[in-house]
Amino acid sequence: MQHVIRIGNAAAFWGDRIAAAAELAAQEPRLDVITMDYLAEVSMSILARQRARDAQAGFPADFIEAMALLAPLLVQRRREQPDAPLRVITNAGGLAPRACAQACARVLLEHGGPACEGMRIGIVSGDDVLPLLRDSGDEDDDALKHLESGDPLATVRDRLVTANVYLGAAPIIESLRQGVDIIITGRVADPSLTVAPCIWHHRWQLHQNDRIAGATVAGHLIECGTQVTGGISTGWLDVPDLAHIGYPIAEVAGDGSCVITKPRTTGGRVTESIVKEQLLYEIGDPDAYLSPDVTASFLSLEVHDEGHDRVRVSGAKGRAAPPKLKVSATYRAGYSAAGTLTIVGRDALAKAMRCAEVVETRLRDAGAQPRRWLVECLGSGGAVPLESLRRENDADGFSEIVLRLSGADERREVVEQFARELMPLVTCGPQGVTGYAEGRPRVHEVYGYWPCLIDRARVKPIVELLEVRPAGAMREVAR
């Protein structure tokens, strides 16, 4: 039987710690793969916004910074363990996987030196289905309807900005077979970044659904990084050494079971309760966790705490993957702005409410009321506005409230008007109004999220190869 494959995660989202990959590589000389996840549902719309300003953009620059720190460690690993390379698999390609790979090649040479020459970067694309959606006719409206609301695509077709299908493990496996060191993909289902190296390493067949379901569970557990090593856990205050919290590692065995753990020298904690919390994170029906690779059931899972920050997860059951693939599209949905002021002193809540009324009256007078409008009094239960959680903490005495106003409208000028009406409260508002150093709120474009399904036959993944050379020229080897 094949030895376990040890897969770490060093980026849960775009904005995670840039040094995490280099630290994980230094802490774990026996790691096989580092996965890095940059693409949440809303990330593509942020990339689209950046690409609108700069045609060369379209992938998270954080990844390139992370690779600058990781490059010397990859070189060291190649020297010390030439037969056991550390591979990196990431969806950092975003909307521009090729451009991301070129930037990665440059930074490897710059920070890893000539030893990086000859390293191979696999590029997985073909996830961009925007032309397909844009050119779709009315006859496709039902097939491409919004997965949740059921609205036909026609309602947003002329406003589409991005449309990317979630690719699965298959094109990543194809890339691994080409002997790559780094794989950069566009939109790929998060767990597939983990599933692909498991299938490849253990030589599983694509019909071995229980094993693939097990690897999918492992991928689901580590894809949010430190959320499975103590981050956001209910018992967070008792988690030790949070400043040095370790990033997670899944040791996936040949039968598809795994042990979730973390580097020995790090802070944080991996326990049965924390692993269970992360198993339930952002899932729907636990009997049908859908991915492009398998439909996994969590209902037969066993979670066993082996102590010393090692938790075994076994018993996953899998059945065939859904016949269609999921598409995550974004469309232009107008403009929004949000700003805050802090109100300190007696009757802070009442004063905050009065401030909101002042802005509302001024916008009404100007005929510029944003179609969507929200007033939140943070500090008095405003973040989750349930009567049972209201905190009347300023009923009789000194307190403080963060007043947050936000507005959205398809008319930019209306949102601009709102953004201009907040800061005048610094002088006409209550005594004790403060916290305005950020200045006038920024107006930015808003993108709506359009999930839909597409036939597998209409999706053609593309696998390319870039060899790191001083010139950085891309050599396409396979397609």
Binding site: A40, E41, V42, S45, L147, E148, S149, I232, S233, T234, G235, D238, T271, S273, I274, K276, E277, Q278, L279, L280, Y281, E282, I283, G284, D285, P286, D287, F298, L299, S300, L301, E302, V303, G315, T330, A333, S336, A338, R372, W373, L374, E376, L378, G382, A383, V384, P385, L386, E387, S388, L389, R404, S406, G407, A408, V446, Y447, G448, Y449, P451
Partner: protein
């Protein structure tokens, strides 16, 4: 006796498109049996009603002593459109843990632990 859910369970929440889910994990089997009975989809929908929430789907995971609640439509348009501070429903788990649960007195001793006791190795 009426006690807050956090004495019986721990939780985690996040977004799923325009919906959010809250996973609730009972601290032990006695608490799970009680919550399966008391923490119904209707009770959770009533608790979150002002947000508002269109529908609550409940899934049971007896193997993990857990219940999963999907709060359909609670994020009003989804994370990228929502104006809320908590656009992604990350705080909904903490909110639900404040829900008051009626626990028969004879079960009190075996369902949870006191509020201020350090969690220690339990979490």
């Amino acid at each position: 006796m009426i006690i807050p859910l956090y004495q019986l369970a721990h939780a985690r929440s996040g977004d799923k498109g325009a919906s959010a889910n809250v996973g609730v994990i009972a601290r032990n089997a006695v608490a799970y049996d009680l919550l399966r009975d008391r923490l119904t989809a209707e009770a959770v929908q009533m608790f979150f009603a002002p947000l508002p929430v269109n529908r609550v789907d409940r899934y049971e995971l007896p193997n993990l002593l857990a219940l999963n609640f999907v709060l359909v439509g609670v994020l009003a348009g989804g994370a990228s459109l929502s104006l809320r501070t908590d656009a992604q429903g990350k705080a909904l788990g903490q909110a639900l843990l404040e829900m008051m649960i009626d626990v028969p007195d004879e079960l009190l001793a075996c369902v949870g632990r006191s509020v201020h006791q350090p969690t220690g190795a339990a979490l």
